[in-house]
Amino acid sequence: MSDQINDSRRNFLSKAAIAGSITIAPGVFLHQTAQAKSDDQAVSSNTRWGMLIDTDKCSKGCTDCVDACNNEHSLTGFDRPTTDAQYIRKVSLVEKQTGHEISLPMMCQHCETAPCVDVCPTGASFKREDGLALVDKHICIGCRYCMMACPYKARSFVHEEIKNQTLSAPRGKGTVESCTMCVHRIDKDGIPACVEACTEENHNAMIFGDLNDPNSTISQELKKHGGKQIRADLRLNTGVRYQGL
C-alpha cells in the first residue's frame, strides 16, 4: 500500500519537475528525477547505487547469494579455494564473550574513495559516475596492487585460462576482477543476481537501490534504522551497508 502511494507521488513529482523545466528552457533541468536509463544514455552521478544487508535475516550456512553470483558470472572453481575467483563470500563473526554469531555476505563495498582506484597504475580500477567500483579489464595489467589495497579482500585474480564465459560477464586470465554489482543488469534496469536470489528465496536480507534518491526503499530504510559500514574508521564511505552488527 505504501509503495503505491510512493509510486503515484513520484510520478506526480517527476511530471511536475519535467513540466517546470520545460517552461524555463528546453534541455535545462532544475530537478533531476530518478528515472530508468535508456541504453544510449550515459550514467550520471545523480545516482549512487548501494546495498543494505540485514544480518539478522542472513542465516548461517545459506549460500543462495553466492550461488546466484557464481552462476551469473560463470565463476568456475579449479578446486583451489584460496585462489579461485570469488565476487561474494559468506563470513561468520562470533563475539567471544557472548558466543553470539553473525553471518553476512562480504563483497566489494563500492567505496566512494576507493583504495583500489588510488593505487591502480593504469587507470583500470575506476569509479563509475554512479558509484560502482569497476575494473576495466582491457587496460588491467594484472599487477594486483588493488588486491593488496582493498581492506575487504574483495578482489580476485584470474590465474587460469577461461573458456565458455557468459555473454554478460567477460572474464580472462591475467586480470583482476570483483563484484560489479551486476552492472550489466543495472544498466538494463535490473537488480543484482545476489539480491534477486535472496528475495526470491524469501530471505529478504538484501536491499538494492539508489542512495541518492531519498524516496528509494534503501534510503528510507537507512533513514529509519541506519546501517553500519564495515571498517568505518577508514572513512571510505562504502556503498554497501550492514544492519545488526
Partner: protein
Amino acid sequence: MTKCFLRISLILTGLIMLFPTQGIAETPFPTIHEPEGHGVECVEDEDEMRRNHMNYILHQRDKTMHEGIRTETYSLSRCIDCHVQPNDKGEVVGHDDKEHFCNACHQYAAVQIDCFQCHADRPQKYIKRASKPQALKEQLQEVLAAKDMGDAQ
C-alpha cells in the same frame, strides 16, 4: 657476350617476378560463412566494416565500460550473434578454429585478436555453461564448514 649477359639477366628478372605471384596464388583466401537466418544487412557497408570494424568495436567498448552505454548496434555481441553460426556439420566452432568468422580473416592477415580471451566467442545459446552450481555449492559448503572455526574471533 653482352647479349648473353642480357639474356641471363632477363630470365633472372622473370623468375624473380614469377615467384611472389605464385606464392599469393597458393595462399587460400578465407571463406566466411554468410550470416544465416537473420536476413539483414550489416550495421555498415561491407567495405567499411572490413576496413574499420575494429574502430567501431573499440569506441563502443569504452562507452560501455565507462559510461554504461549499452546500445547494440556496434557491440561485439551483435557481431557474434549474426556472424557466428553453425557450419555445414551443425557445429559452432570456437575462436581458435580457422572456420570461426573472426579467425578466418585474422589468421590469413596474421593479426592476433585478444577479444576472446575474455569475451564470449559464440552466441549465448551455443555456449555450454561450464559452471556447475551444485558442485560449486557443495565445495562452498565444505569451505564454509572448514572456515567457521578460523573466522571465529
